[in-house]
Amino acid sequence: MKYLGSISAIVSKDVLHELKSREIVVSMLLFSVLTVVVFSFIFEPGSQFKNEVVGGILWMSFVFAGILGLNKSMMSEVTGGNFSALLLAPVDRSAIFFGKAISNFIFIAMVEIFTIPLFMVLYNVNIFAYGAMPVVIFLLGTYGFAILGTLFSIISVNTRTREVMLPLLLLPIIVPVILSSVQALNIYILGHDPADAVKWMQLLAGFDAIFTVVVFAVFDFIVED
């Protein structure tokens, strides 16, 4: 249980820090809503094709805002030397990683909670018309994004170019997450057979499980100094 204790210590540290500064969530939220608004210019107002693309717009706004937040979150760890201090702590290294990943997950989820209602109003779509199942898509997709995003943000802030590397590394690898989340969400937006959405959610769950194990296995090796 010491492992879970370390994770929750890191998460509560990050949440407390964020409650004081509000830097990460507010800038991410503004950016994601802005993306939703700016992307409305790609089609005519009231276009009949609108519903086929809005799911993608919503996810792209999360991905872009998420990249912004991940960089910010990891930069504040590195600039104060806090991350090196955390690694010196006599706890399992992967506990530190999962602590960071869970705080990033919480921050992105916060952004989603505010962006989704605004999105539904602005684009006049009801994602939850067929029940609360889309929540599962958001949870699974955000977790997959957060777990690899956290690892790659640690890698990215250690490069000479700092935050430039994160999207270049992360976007191609999370193609399955983006694709499944958008496709699953589209099924609910367009009112298609929900059984197809379950298939996509299984793929998301599989992706999440595989990369949780892989990151757990490699993290110890890549941070030891």
């Binding site: 890698i155 490069t159 170019t161 976007l171 193609v175 399955p176 694709l179 490699v218 890549i222």
Partner: protein
Amino acid sequence: MKLQKPLDIAAIVLIIAALYMAFMFAPVERMMGAVQKIFYFHVASAWIAFFAFFVTFVFSILFLVKQNFLFDDIAESSAEIGIMFCTIVLITGPIWARPIWGVWWTWDPRLTTTTILWFIYAGYIMLRKFIEEADKRAKFAAAIGIIGFIDVPIVFFSIRWWRTIHPNVVQKGGGGLHPDMLKAMLFAIFAFSVLYAAMMLKRVRIASLSRRIDAIGENNG
């Protein structure tokens, strides 16, 4: 490096022989005509690209476990050669697709996966350029080398599902390959494998030499 010269010569001879096999030995395809000849090198390049990334994956794991920098050199070299062959695949594919399918590009699972693969390893190579410390560079690159390769089948399956839910624009022709065409294809794959080995030998040598130069520079500086 006694192996280097015989391998170089073998690669040159085999590639010329593969050209002969593709253009003279294999029959001209009845429907597609001469443009089908690109197929032999396209398939061979694709095979080498995937194999090279697999080598990067294996040696990334070995590096993390054993901490031997030779493994890092091999992983780096293989990724670089892999991305070169991956680029060849992505160029030769559309050249063939344009006259046969009528479009340069289609979002077919294999094409799309190969493109995503290209981006993953382009990121891998860029990352290596942007980290100064050899130790960090090797470890972080190994993480990408491992995660990137595990990701490839997931990318492929997700894109295949995506394309089967949507109607498939381009129908693939049947796989009935003339036996002489099959021979030419297998020979091209063999020739490219030898070429890969010859290039790897040189590239790994360059990598370990530049590592030595860096070490000497650090000692003097």
